[in-house]
Amino acid sequence: MSAVLNFLIRRREAGIFVMIVLFCLFVGVQKPQFLTLDSLRIVLLLTPLIMIGAMGQMMVIVARHVDLSIGSILGLSAMVSGMMFRYMPDMPWFLCFPLSIGTGMLLGFVNGLLITTFRLPAIIVTLGTLNLYRGLTFIISNAKQIDRQYVPSILKSMSQPSPTLAVPLIIFLSFAIAVATYWFLMHTRIGRQIFALGSNPVAAPLRGINVTQVTLLVFTLSGALSGLAGIMYASRWGFVNPSNTGAGFEFQVIAAVVIGGVSINGGVGTVLGTVLGVLLLGCVGAALPLLGIPGTTQNAIYGSVILVALLIDRLVRAQGNRGVTQRAGASS
């Protein structure tokens, strides 16, 4: 028992995993249909966009910044492709990938440039670009929605169960992005530098880290991933709307990242934890309607789950620290 407890304390991810299991069992007792493959499919279909966004946001938060503009980047990137679908239907559909990802990269790069050049806090810069990018979306689209009929069927089919795989392609794609992020953060020099920058921004340049370069990189990556999420939005929902598409995306993503144990103080966080944070949000999102909880209370419950997750984490960590201190005391 104490070994299990010890493991839970040491592995933050295990704690979140246990929370997911307990939550699913709790729901499953009342609604047995929640513990079926069908529900798993619903949960997984709720997560790909958040997962892709969370990988970018995680890198930004590890570097001790935050990116509030990702929802607007998602919207603008999706709209650029949507307008290609609508006004240039003869173009090959797959050009939407370079187009949207490129748009996202550019917008993220602009964020990074403003932050590094003028030494402005990321939270303020991205709050500004959140509105700027959303406004640009209205301007370029003339405030017109891109309707379902313009979005290519092949793109929409990526969100539907394929006959060969049984699982929609976007779910695979989101997990592939998570694996790639893991490799990048753990096994490349620049990936490690992101952690070094976040854990001590003052010491980072002394260790030979180019702070400007790393900062530009994390915001550009966050933008690129939001651009990809924009394409996924068009695939999943089949339309692009100037005001709705991506609205509130940043809150879901930051919530998932923070639940996943990424420290808002920078320097700490794992891909596995973030993935589990995303899955927990997905489970809650799918379970609340199933339990018949009215929409008016769902927001409050959703918010409470986030706070409880953070609280448990804080308590577990305090416990863990005490354990470490005690062990240190015993050995001396």
């Binding site: 609604k31 249909q33 929640f34 069908d38 529900s39 619903i42 709720l46 959303r134 406004g135 209205f138 689209s141 405030a143 017109k144 929605q145 309707d147 379902r148 009929q149 539907q160 169960p161 929902w237 089949g238 339309f239 709307n241 100037p242 005001s243 709705n244 999102g285 799918a286 609340l288 309607p289 199933l290 018949g292 009215p294 929409g295 008016t296």
Partner: protein, 332 residues
Amino acid sequence: MLKKSLLIGLAAGLAMVTTAFAADPIKIVYIGKNTGNPYFDSITGGFEDACKEKGCEFEFVAPATAEATSQIPFIEAQIQRGVNVIGIAPNSPDALNQVLDDARAKGILVLTVNGDLVGNESHRDATILPVDFTKTGPNQVELMGSLIGYKGEIAILSATTEAPDQNTWIAAMNDTLANDAKYKDMKLVATVYGDDQPEKSTTEMEALLANYPNLVGVIAPTTVGIAAAAQVVQQRGIADKVHVTGLGLPSEMRDFIKDGTVKAFQLWSPYNEGWLAVHFALGVLDGSIKNEVGASFDVPNLGKVTIADKNAMIAQPELTTFDASNIDNFNF
């Protein structure tokens, strides 16, 4: 003496300005609930076409979000611009009273179009509504009944819990189901709310299917809800078992009608509202139409329109039903 001649000069100047205005074409503005809402494109189309024919100037403006007070600065700007007619889809039944009174004090004709200031009708000159809303609920129940052979469990997927129009219709649906013997074998098992968000509407629809395995029909009296419900049914391939209907836009529903996911749905023609508003406004301004309860006038393509209680007009008496046979005739 000097004062007096100044006053006379001023009066003369004013008179000149006024005559100059009179020679200008009538300026009509329509203020929508929010930008990027495809529904308003269609209303605007009616305004535009009628103005083209009758030689008036038309402009559409709308705030970015549909909040209670967000339309106030737009109304103020239009008063300053000196428009002759303000048409508005009010975002609040009471927040606009003061600014609309200001507009009317300046001689501007104020019409609410597609929604009224319920309880504050004295703050506008007349209202133009799409259809007789008391018939929406019964019409929808009848359409659902005809799709499922008047037998089985049905559910309602609505917009937000506080949406006034939807709640009126849902109350009428409940009333019709309970009191009309024709529908005695149809059982309403749940009413859920998707908040007019695609994601939330989708999870609510999935939860309906999981919680009520015998469900044969879902009525979604909201354009976002019906599209989300149709997408779930399409992806699961259960169109022959669960019938989705409700209120939708032909442009958003075309694909679902063509592939048989949805057999039929309803709406009015928002276009007719704009068309009627222009003909009414110009008639009132040139004196050919008296804005009095009981008065009636002829409108090209719509026929005879009568001004009903509280100076209300409706653009068409019954809902239009869209199905595979006629969907291609509608381009909104």
